[in-house]
């Protein structure tokens, strides 16, 4: 546990040093979208956005939080909540253990209390390195608890989604997390809570069809794939090619499902503005 924590801290400090130009490196990183190589330091200065084409590469939950929260304000909540294996699905427990070892995450969601430019809020961030950020019972429980905690403390809730949808290995119990999270968000909102839903690449399936689509304000990162059915399934169903840009954030904005597209470098200022606008009396 402590080892995981110090490894994570070291990694985040390294990234910060890269951004601040305190490290030199000749390594180059290839973009998964355009295939071009750019210096690793340049990627990091752009917060893991391709310097050539602007592709927003998926990033881990702790990394994202470290870029958004005020330094020193991060306090993890429910950090020990571990996943269950309700179907006793063959190989699942071993897979979970391997992923925990590899990523330092118990499951695909991290919840924390933190501040953005001084404004306090509850944050939940899905991490696509952990089984595609899919929602099983632990992720559903974490989102529900985040909403309940935010309500109890009268704080806004900010969720960054990145998910392939329901977690197949937990079967029907995963499906029920859609009802559970939607209910928790609904209750939080009906009691006056502010929920900012931030969609990142990719957000699909049961996560799109539950808490991710229920934000008071809907935001997304450029180019993020956002949808219910995946593009491959749709193409198989309708037997035709989908248009360029289909289900991308820009497409959703055009179709009325988003308030705004937020480049990665602007999350802090946009969230700070929105949190400030919702503070009592409109004043900090």
């Amino acid at each position: 546990m402590n080892q995981t924590f110090s490894r994570r801290r070291d990694r985040l400090l390294t990234y910060r040093a890269m951004r601040e130009g305190n490290i030199t490196s000749s390594r180059r990183t290839k973009c998964a979208a355009c295939g071009e190589e750019s210096p690793r330091l340049e990627w990091e200065r752009k917060l893991q956005v391709c310097p050539k084409c602007g592709f927003h590469a998926p990033v881990g939950a702790y990394y994202r939080l470290s870029n958004i929260l005020d330094p020193g304000s991060f306090q993890e909540l429910e950090g020990n909540l571990s996943p269950a294996d309700p179907l006793a699905f063959p190989g699942y427990s071993a897979k979970l253990a391997g992923l925990e070892e590899e990523t330092g995450l118990k499951d695909a969601a991290v919840t924390a209390l933190g501040r953005v430019d001084g404004h306090k809020a509850v944050f939940s961030v899905l991490d696509s390195r952990f089984l595609m950020g899919s929602m099983g019972t632990a992720v559903g429980e974490k989102i529900a608890r985040a909403a309940e905690y935010a309500e109890k403390k009268k704080l806004p809730l900010v969720i960054f989604s990145a998910s392939g949808g329901a977690r197949m290995q937990e079967g029907i119990f995963s499906l029920m997390q859609m009802a559970k999270t939607a209910a928790a968000i609904q209750r939080f909102q009906s009691r006056g809570g502010l929920y900012l839903s931030c969609l990142t690449h990719p957000t699909t399936g049961g996560v799109t069809a539950s808490f991710a689509s229920l934000g008071d304000i809907m935001l997304a990162e450029p180019g993020a794939l956002i949808g219910f059915a995946g593009p491959r399934v749709i193409e198989q169903t309708i037997k035709e090619k989908l248009p360029e840009g289909f289900q991308r954030a820009e497409y959703l904005l055009d179709h009325g499902f988003l308030d705004r597209i937020v480049p990665r470098s602007e999350w802090r200022s946009v969230l700070a503005q929105l949190l400030a606008l919702h503070e009592k009396g409109g004043q900090p």
Binding site: Q169, F173, S190
Partner: protein, 274 residues
């Protein structure tokens, strides 16, 4: 109860000659007045809904409709709703709450329609809003899974105070074909998927996902519709009487707490400060 294997049950649940939503409405309700359209842009035949009387009492009834012949199948997209269908359902449920009518839903769908237009009009958002709305309704809601309960498209009509299932109906996170294709990259292993998915009414009852299993005739619901109608009628009557004892906020609370508790084996929320 288990003379059929899970894969046999999937086949039974999908039989086109099983009674569907329109059949249940015709047999169990009187005075049915169909309501159409989402009041935004369209009408979706794959969700059938309206006002009717159940033993004389006005209720709102909503369900998936697969259609009984090819022509109907096509207008109903084989029971796979588009956002218009889910938004129509939301409209009908809000109205039911306004007029204090209980809501009864019949669930029978392979899943929400995975099409281009459905995505453009916000399939995910439409389902999410159904879930959120149903979770807080202050009228009794009873759902009966009559055939296939496929994925979020089924759950969108099944956030109920009581979820009942016919004995050979199935209810799952995804179709067995989709499940096998995602996990094993091989849709032909669907039969194997049926075995591990725990999608039968009996498994779901044990897992606390459904609250009642309704017995079917020996060889399945398609062999004796009248018997199925009697069973469903009796179950709805009983559950409705039980829910009538709860006031509006208590109904919403019971439903919330029931779904809130669905996640087995997790430790309780910690009370202490971070």
């Amino acid at each position: 109860m288990s003379r059929y294997t899970p894969e046999e049950k999937v086949k039974l649940a999908r039989r086109p000659d099983r009674p569907g939503t329109a059949d249940f409405i015709g047999a169990l309700f009187t005075d049915f007045f169909e309501q159409r359209g989402d009041r935004l842009c369209g009408e979706d035949g794959s969700i059938l809904g309206g006002i009717a009387r159940f033993h004389g009492r006005p209720v709102t009834v909503i369900g998936h409709r697969k259609g009984k012949n090819l022509e109907e199948n096509l207008t109903c997209t084989f029971g796979m709703p588009s956002p218009e269908g889910y938004r129509k359902a939301q409209r009908l449920m809000r109205q039911a709450e306004k007029f204090g009518r209980p809501i009864i839903t019949f669930v029978d769908t392979p899943g929400a329609y995975p099409g281009k237009e459905a995505e453009e009009r916000g399939q995910g958002e439409a389902i999410a809003q159904c879930l959120a709305l149903m979770s807080a309704l202050e009228v009794p809601v009873i759902s009966v899974v009559t055939g296939e309960g496929g994925s979020g498209g089924a759950l969108a009509l099944a956030v109920a105070n009581r979820v009942l299932m016919l004995e050979h109906a199935v209810y799952s996170v995804l179709s067995p074909e989709g499940f096998a294709s995602i996990l094993w990259k091989d849709a032909s292993r669907a039969d194997e998927a049926c075995g591990v998915m725990k999608l039968t009414a009996q498994d779901l009852r044990r897992g606390g996902i459904v609250q009642g299993v309704l017995r079917e005739p020996e060889d399945g619901a398609h062999t004796n519709w009248a018997a199925v109608f009697r069973t469903v009628d009796a179950a709805l009557t009983k559950e409705l009487a039980a829910l009538d004892k709860l006031k509006g906020p208590a109904l919403a609370r019971q439903r919330y707490e029931m779904f809130r508790a669905m996640g087995q084996g997790l430790p309780p929320a910690r009370e202490e400060e971070p």
